[in-house]
Symmetry: D2
Subunit: 198 residues, 4 copies
Amino acid sequence: MSSPLRPTVAIAFHSSNGHTAALAEAVARGAAEAGAEVVSVTVDTITDAQWAQLDAADAIIFGSPTYMGTASAAFHAFAEAGSKRYISRTWSDKYAAGFTISGGLSGDKSSTLGYFVTLAAQHGMHWISLGQLPGFGDANSESQPNRLGYYVGAGSQSRYDAGADAIPKSDIVTAERLGARVTEQAAIYIAGRAALAS
Amino acid sequence: MSSPLRPTVAIAFHSSNGHTAALAEAVARGAAEAGAEVVSVTVDTITDAQWAQLDAADAIIFGSPTYMGTASAAFHAFAEAGSKRYISRTWSDKYAAGFTISGGLSGDKSSTLGYFVTLAAQHGMHWISLGQLPGFGDANSESQPNRLGYYVGAGSQSRYDAGADAIPKSDIVTAERLGARVTEQAAIYIAGRAALAS
Amino acid sequence: MSSPLRPTVAIAFHSSNGHTAALAEAVARGAAEAGAEVVSVTVDTITDAQWAQLDAADAIIFGSPTYMGTASAAFHAFAEAGSKRYISRTWSDKYAAGFTISGGLSGDKSSTLGYFVTLAAQHGMHWISLGQLPGFGDANSESQPNRLGYYVGAGSQSRYDAGADAIPKSDIVTAERLGARVTEQAAIYIAGRAALAS
Amino acid sequence: MSSPLRPTVAIAFHSSNGHTAALAEAVARGAAEAGAEVVSVTVDTITDAQWAQLDAADAIIFGSPTYMGTASAAFHAFAEAGSKRYISRTWSDKYAAGFTISGGLSGDKSSTLGYFVTLAAQHGMHWISLGQLPGFGDANSESQPNRLGYYVGAGSQSRYDAGADAIPKSDIVTAERLGARVTEQAAIYIAGRAALAS
């Protein structure tokens, strides 16, 4: 249960070989440092209790690898199972955001992020953009987040045959900042709801 | 100048023959009734003073007809001129939403709404979804908003050779509710900012 | 095995409750009448032999309901399993097209069709557009195909609680014509390959 | 006037400061080397004679910088002026393809390419995908085309403050190959039409 000024930020993600999980950890770290109560849910093993955690969250950040031009089939199975929440409008007015990773620099990650926006809109959620200008220079510099130049959400790139620790530092920092941003924005929103209710 | 609890909602739209203008009026009406101070800007004749009004708004709702699968060229010229605001991050964290109309039921209106989302994300804005389940039945019934079943924003359809008063009532109500929704959500957000600043 | 002038057109689709299957039958009918050898594959029960049929086809037409703003999870599982063909470029230069159905008039069917385009492009396939101007008037008139006004592919709409026989005739004719169009275009392409090889 | 086996490939592009023009030259070079009769049209100064050249082409390749998440306003003005061809179906069944460039690695180039697909579909054109697997390694290596990992079309990236000669060689080769691919595919198609007509 979140206090009015401490938003609950849920991260609902699928990771096949650890890359997306590494980004999810970075998002969680950024959110926690910004003051969020963080809930992390791996969507391919989601339980009823975890569905309830998503229902109670102030924001849900979607994460998935980009496979064949969209989120993974496991993520889509989760989203399809979420159709009951669509009908009951359970997630309406929550904040939403997203992140994805692929083996190519583009790799159609934009399609996955665009799909997350569509999914969020079907639920009546509000989409929090990445909010970072593109970084340039060394991909492993922590001072250059958003090296890939995304706007709708966070994009990361790493070779499939490399381990998750090969993800460039720029991408990790980008994910941390996304977690922080969603937290900060959700904190404003829930403070507003509390103020208007009082 | 908006008081903390009365959001300023700007509508930045292009209308060629009156259809989009009729929707913009409906959005404005819904926003005003929900308590917004409304600013309407026709983007093909925008002045420096109106750019400043957009800069000062809490939310900007984009509107355009869908021509050849995207917003009108006049709207794109406005968006391109807005690149200075992109660099200065002037519109960052504002709320954004959108509406469009075309002659066909689909007519690729989804592409225009998706473009609005992308534009908003480039500015670091937050996207407010339509938040209405699809309506069914008579297109001219006021009790069935969102007859076209959009989620990202408001879509309307009317024959090109018909006047703006031929726009179905369902679409007008949908636009009114979008204006109201953006206002209500922006009111929460600015109340939160005020609460956290105090 | 197709003769040079008789294209093999495969339809790879998922249907949950019969609506998409009814459209797939219409696509097949239109393709057969235009001279195609038609292969229909339900992707959730696809066999190795059927994968080989897709590999041998001149064109593959993708079909799925639109659930939560994209193709069904079952379709996505099929597409993900197709990643081996992506690596081997087995489907490169085949023709591709798509169709989808949802309960709402829009229902984000455009997102599903856009996803099909992205999937096809990942495979290096060529996308055949719907090629029909929007129809107007009675949805059940056979003389008004493409009542929904799509361009990228065929879109259909029917209430979820109605049977597949409630799909409007306009949508059925639209699907038939898509099957015919893909066949005609593929016939030109394979005739050209034969001519250049001789 | 093209002979049946020598396709006419038109490049319709807008360039503001030379970057897109450099890519257009690469596309033209690749097309010419593959046997095309090439027509290059700068869409912001298009003449009636050039519109007629586009009407007579077997394929039209669209090119534009990506500004604020879509093609430039000048390109959109061209596309909007092309609506007469939409009504007359003049471009129906032509081949289409596209390329774009932006200052960021992603920079929402996918949105521009997706818009090109939508525009082509409105005209009833067939979309030729890039058909290149992602390259890895040195961006300036000619042996690693498609370093950015696009599929729908060709994407390039170069700093805005650098001249057009700073565009990485990988991107130039990618554009050349796109021109060659469209030519090769169009040659097959027009050979097929000739074979079926004889």
